[in-house]
């Protein structure tokens, strides 16, 4: 379609948008990608609150076992299992994915590639609606007879497949159904993202002019689509095992529980990169803007992302080193696992190299981005311990794994989310956030986060394994020293959670009462900063044409230290 036709169409569209829309059409059943992005974001934030509340309940139980937890009540064994299981499930499927991929993907992709909406707006809405139903089904599963599912987020059969083993007949099935629906929602959403990026880029925007965050979200979505298929088949099989009495995964009926482990981790490991890559992209955007530097090695970062994605498909069995797989296979997977550190290390090095020679401003988004680099580095290097099969014999399912895992996922999900929200807030709501409160929130989250998870490395080294409601019964683990480490971690968690109220207050206060934001408060290059804040339906008053890459900061010979993508060379 020619640009002229586009311009005509755009005019009629803009004209159509003038008629008044009811609240329902505008905010609930909207097909506008930005509103859908908000819907994902707020649902994700609410689910994050639930997940955090669960973490609070079971950490309190670990610190002061058997005592009534304030605002929760007594945590017994069944409740403890339910809490840890659903904490994990919620944080990965209902927080990390909707916020990082769906919310920011929806919000940013059309704006950053310079088009007026997703290519399939109604499919987009459907994807959110399915996602919402999945969240409701999950919440429903906490309240059915027998309680919520308590077989860990990996849900290994036969425990998850047989009600007599897990004692949560309906909880387990609803949990599985919720995960299934969530996957379907993201498959639909993902197809939309990829198609949009492939087909609807603004004129002039070549493959190497796409902002890294859009690239990363797309790679993540493709990884997700490719890895989740076998798990969808597996989920149907597991559901039949639960409800119809088949035995795909039950050995006495001829099935094999190891098959589920393979199906799950074939998805589960790429999933780590599915949530990692969007945050890497967000960080790339932020550090370039706040150090006024061109991204160091755009292509390198892109290729390492592809490399990581490809490699992530051949490392999955490192989750199963001691799960009864053939030990010879472990040698293959240990090589691939250690090798995956190479592209990721290269990517981190490139980010650090971007800072060289910069003019770094420590605003809150930049603090979050740097905080991400520091803490993800800890998460990354501790992964080497666990990828080493022989050492995994000791560390498998121990608190060392928990600490490592949270040192990767907390920076990815929570820090990445806050980095993105604080960075794009002016564009999303047209107002600035309060910088002082933001900084208080940053330090109040970052320090307790380390106070929470660093001690867990120590208890992990002491041989404490995960998913246990009360360690004081274990003679070797009951020592007061270890218990005081646990208490320290719990206190850190409580402090961390309390500081989130600062954010909530700041978020809503700034949303309604904050200082009006200028069009481009950070002086960034990418296209979303050229539209009014908040952007109207249809985004661009005039659809842009692209003349250069997204990271042309501090170009020699230019007075301004930034050079937006849409400005023609003579401007």
């Amino acid at each position: 379609m020619g640009q002229q036709a586009e311009a005509i169409l755009h005019e009629t569209e803009a004209h159509d948008a003038h008629h008044e829309m009811s609240f329902w059409d505008k905010y609930i059943f909207s097909v506008d990608h930005k509103i859908i992005g908000f819907q994902y974001m707020f649902t994700g934030l609410i689910m994050a609150a639930i997940g955090g509340y669960f973490a609070y309940a079971f950490r309190m139980q670990l610190a002061w076992p058997g005592e009534e937890v304030p605002f929760y009540g007594l945590v017994d064994a069944a409740k403890y299992n339910m809490l840890v299981t659903n904490h994990g499930t919620i944080m990965i499927f209902w927080v990390a994915m909707p916020v990082l991929i769906a919310a920011f993907g929806n919000w940013l992709i059309p704006l950053m590639i310079g088009c007026d909406d997703m290519v399939f707006p109604r499919l987009n809405r459907l994807s959110y609606q399915i996602f919402l139903v999945s969240a409701l089904v999950l919440i429903l599963s906490f309240f059915v007879t027998g309680g919520g599912f308590g077989g860990a987020w990996t849900s290994y059969p036969p425990l998850s497949a047989v009600a007599a083993y897990n004692l949560t007949n309906w909880g387990a099935s609803l949990w599985l159904l919720a995960v299934f629906l969530e996957i379907v929602a993201f498959l639909l959403g993902g197809i939309n993202f990829v198609t949009t990026t492939m087909n609807a880029r603004a004129p002039g925007m070549g493959m190497m002019d796409i902002p890294i965050v859009v690239w990363m979200i797309n790679i993540a979505v493709i990884l997700f689509m490719a890895s989740v298929g076998p798990l969808v088949a597996g989920a149907v099989m597991l559901f039949f095992d639960q409800r119809l009495g088949t035995s795909f995964f039950i050995p006495s009926g001829g099935g094999d529980p190891l098959l589920w482990e393979h199906l799950f981790w074939f998805f589960g490991h790429p999933e780590v990169y599915v949530v990692l890559l969007p945050t890497m992209g967000i960080v790339a955007e932020i550090i370039t803007v706040f150090s006024r530097k061109k991204l160091f090695g755009y292509r390198t970062i892109l290729y390492t992302a592809f490399g990581t994605g490809g490699l992530s498909f051949i490392v999955w069995a490192h989750h199963q080193f001691v799960a009864g797989i053939d030990p010879r296979m472990a040698n293959v997977f240990v090589v691939t696992t250690i090798l995956i550190s190479i592209p990721i290390a290269e990517m981190l090095f490139s980010f650090i190299a971007t800072l060289y020679g910069g003019s770094i401003e420590f605003s809150t988004p930049m603090l979050w981005a740097l905080g991400f680099l520091v803490s993800f580095l800890i998460g990354g290097v501790t992964g080497i311990y666990l990828g080493a099969s022989a050492l995994d014999v000791y560390f498998h399912d121990s608190y060392f794994v928990i600490a490592h895992f949270h040192y990767t996922f907390f920076p990815i999900t929570i820090i990445g989310m806050f980095a993105a929200i604080t960075y794009w807030f002016p564009k999303m709501f047209g107002r600035m956030m309060d910088e002082t409160l933001n900084k208080i929130h940053f330090w109040g989250t970052f320090i307790p986060f380390n106070g929470l998870f660093l001690p867990l490395f120590l208890v992990g080294m002491a041989g404490q394994h995960r998913r246990i409601a009360d360690f004081t019964q274990y003679p070797d683990l009951a020592s007061p020293d270890l218990q005081s480490i646990r208490i320290f971690a719990t206190v850190s968690l409580v402090i961390l959670l309390l500081f989130q109220f600062v954010f909530i207050y700041n978020f809503f206060n700034s949303m309604f009462k904050g200082k009006k934001a200028p069009l481009n408060p950070w002086k960034a290059n990418t296209l979303e900063w050229t539209v009014s804040s908040p952007p109207p339906h249809g985004n661009f008053a005039e659809l842009p044409t692209i003349y250069r890459g997204p990271y042309e900061y501090s170009v020699p010979g230019r007075e301004e230290d930034y050079w937006p993508q849409h400005l023609a060379p003579n401007q």
């Binding site: 076992p65 061109k294 755009y298 030990p327 910069g358 770094i360 399912d397 246990i468 003679p475």
Partner: protein, 269 residues
């Protein structure tokens, strides 16, 4: 291998009580040194850049694309270093792995461990050194071995996945229903250690732990076996278990080889 390198990072928490525990501790120390080196260098660079290149009036940032070869080397050299260390590490890891999991050295005795919701049943071979004979000794949640003897273990499960984990031995292995999984260990320190179930196995997972007692010599072991046969043995495990104040809704069975099934337990609360 820990005679080459011993930082004592893990042994300050848990004793190294099996023959391969030292190898695994060595790996931990080795990785700590390598990874620590990279970690410190990277973090130092990051912080140096953050401080050195903070915003100052009138100083414009450099324009570096990172696409030129002369610029790329700055990330490539450290990157080659990472590859070299990775290869070096993989070598050590595989050597230890082959030793711990892939090979079965000649043994003095065999034990069988059966996981079920939520207790461990152990079968000791008795005098003849063979399983599945008349003189087998069965115990619940109480495993007895002799110091410096090499043991093979056979793991089975009656219901769900469990994990046979002895942190002091640096040993973990899942048990899978429908499979027999073999492995070995050789205790080197006498004493009593925790034996945990390290794979979530249902409601009672938190309570599914046992004790492994390493006897200093055969005499002490035989006396214990006789006491178990006669029913007069008071389990070290029972003495040591301090039930915490958690109101877990059941207790683990004490005497029979078959502890009550999940359903019965479920009905009791």
């Amino acid at each position: 291998m820990n005679e080459y390198l011993d930082l004592g990072l893990i042994t300050s928490f848990v004793p190294a009580a099996s023959s391969f525990a030292g190898d695994i501790d060595f790996l931990f120390d080795l990785i700590t040194i390598i990874v620590g080196f990279w970690f410190v260098i990277t973090l130092a660079t990051l912080f140096y850049f953050m401080i050195r290149f903070r915003r100052r009036e009138g100083v414009k940032a450099l324009y570096i694309s990172g696409e030129k070869h002369s610029e790329k080397v700055w990330t490539h050299y450290p990157h080659y270093g990472v590859i070299a260390f990775d290869v070096f590490l993989i070598g050590f890891v595989i050597v230890v792995w082959v030793n711990v999991k892939q090979t079965l050295p000649a043994n003095e005795d065999t034990i069988r461990a059966i996981g079920q919701q939520w207790s461990w049943s152990f079968v000791h071979t008795g005098a003849d050194g063979k399983l599945d004979t008349e003189d087998d000794v069965n115990t619940v949640n109480d495993l007895h071995v002799i110091k410096d003897n090499t043991y093979h273990f056979e793991l089975q499960s009656r219901d769900v996945l469990h994990n046979f984990a002895i942190p002091a031995f640096r040993l973990r292995q899942d048990t899978i229903p429908g499979r027999t999984i073999r492995g070995w260990f050789k205790p080197t320190i006498s004493g009593t250690f925790d034996l945990q179930c390290a794979e979530i196995c249902g409601r009672g997972h938190s309570m599914m732990f046992a004790a492994i007692t390493v006897h200093p010599d055969r005499k002490s072991y035989d006396e214990t076996m006789d006491a178990i046969r006669a029913g007069t043995y008071e389990s070290h495990f029972e003495k040591k278990r301090q039930l915490g104040p958690v109101p877990l809704p059941f207790t683990v069975s004490k005497s029979e080889t078959d502890s009550p099934y999940a359903i019965e337990l479920a009905q009791s609360f």
